[in-house]
Subunit: 253 residues, 2 copies
Amino acid sequence: MQFTSERRLDDGVLERDFTLGRNADSRIPGILWTPASDSAPSSAPAPLILVGHPGGLDRMRPRLASRARHYATQYGFAAATVELPGSGDRPRLPAVEQARADLRRAIQAGEPVSDEVVDALVLPLVEQAVPEWRAALDALLALPGIGGPVGFEGGVISIGIRLAVVEPRIAAANLFAGSFVPAALVEEARRLTVPLQVLLQWDDEGNDRQAALDLFDAFGTKEKTLHANLGGHTGVPSFEIDNGARFFARHLK
Amino acid sequence: MQFTSERRLDDGVLERDFTLGRNADSRIPGILWTPASDSAPSSAPAPLILVGHPGGLDRMRPRLASRARHYATQYGFAAATVELPGSGDRPRLPAVEQARADLRRAIQAGEPVSDEVVDALVLPLVEQAVPEWRAALDALLALPGIGGPVGFEGGVISIGIRLAVVEPRIAAANLFAGSFVPAALVEEARRLTVPLQVLLQWDDEGNDRQAALDLFDAFGTKEKTLHANLGGHTGVPSFEIDNGARFFARHLK
């Protein structure tokens, strides 16, 4: 892990860009936000929130930073994210690009999206991204001042499911039911055991409501909460940022 | 409105029992909780939360008081409740008692509960309770230190729907989708326009999940949030008390 730039923001939060990996072709960019040292509880290492996103860190940075700064200033959490495979400056994944084109074509034609297209779009992303997030976790938890426990939130829900199931350091997950989920991941969701909060946009034009409710039902954890809000995919109400933070505050201790 | 007793609780909250109405046969008992004067913002009258319940104030008092004290000490809200028609010390309503017996019989026999039974159980309660809650509101808002706006929460959801639709002083409603709702009230729900939060217990043994989701869908308001939690009818997680308070804090200003 190498830091490539750092900025002290006006609320005291330190925003650092980093890259993971030595090989120029496979380097993974990421961002880390840490609370101003005087806002953290004395000497206790900060819990860490891994902040998911749909891919494209440059475009997503303002929204991610806004969440991370809320977490840091109000709760003393550190937050970090890494670029997804095939997104931003990283090399494209031709099979995923093809599946994305097939998906767009089906939606524009008003046709149902086939399981094959969903699998081709999401499964390779999960397969590649989850080990990368785990590697990022290794590097982040080795930094001074960051101690875990770790929460995961947002982004591609299938990545969150797999990560929360296979990575024992994830202690709580706040997921957004806003994208297609392969049947295999719905099955994996049954094995998830950490406390879970799920956001659902009730009128999400690109997301089947019943499929999202079925997924919520499938999660195997004993403690799960669904927050459904009126509105479309991008209309998540701003008060859910703090709801998410409070969910993590209950579980990351 | 006559106060019949008062207690200063150890957190400074003033709990007062009252009755509404002059006629001994039709007197309605109620309870009012108000914040210690030094915890309220200087001179500003307190917003008021009307706290619903399933009937039987004596039995419900500890739970209601616990919520009211949280609202008063953490948010400076006043809270009040009145006994339901046919419950507690009030005269029984024979038709409703009959419907309740029919309901129990159907459930014990594993039969579907007919629309007729639901209507007979709930509609008379709504017809009588809603004017009573409005009369209570008249009396409560005439007291010094209580100024509104007013929120309604919990209890029999059909009463909450009707009240929030017909009573313009209700500015926000936090309802519990935990009981049978007559088709006529689902239709009324389409006319509800205030901000709304709905609690749903995902595995509520006495409540049809799909009916509750359909009701949430029917509400006509532009701002609505569903909080679904794993567990049965009585298993609402304790963190939802503060979630409800924060919902009111956003809207009762």
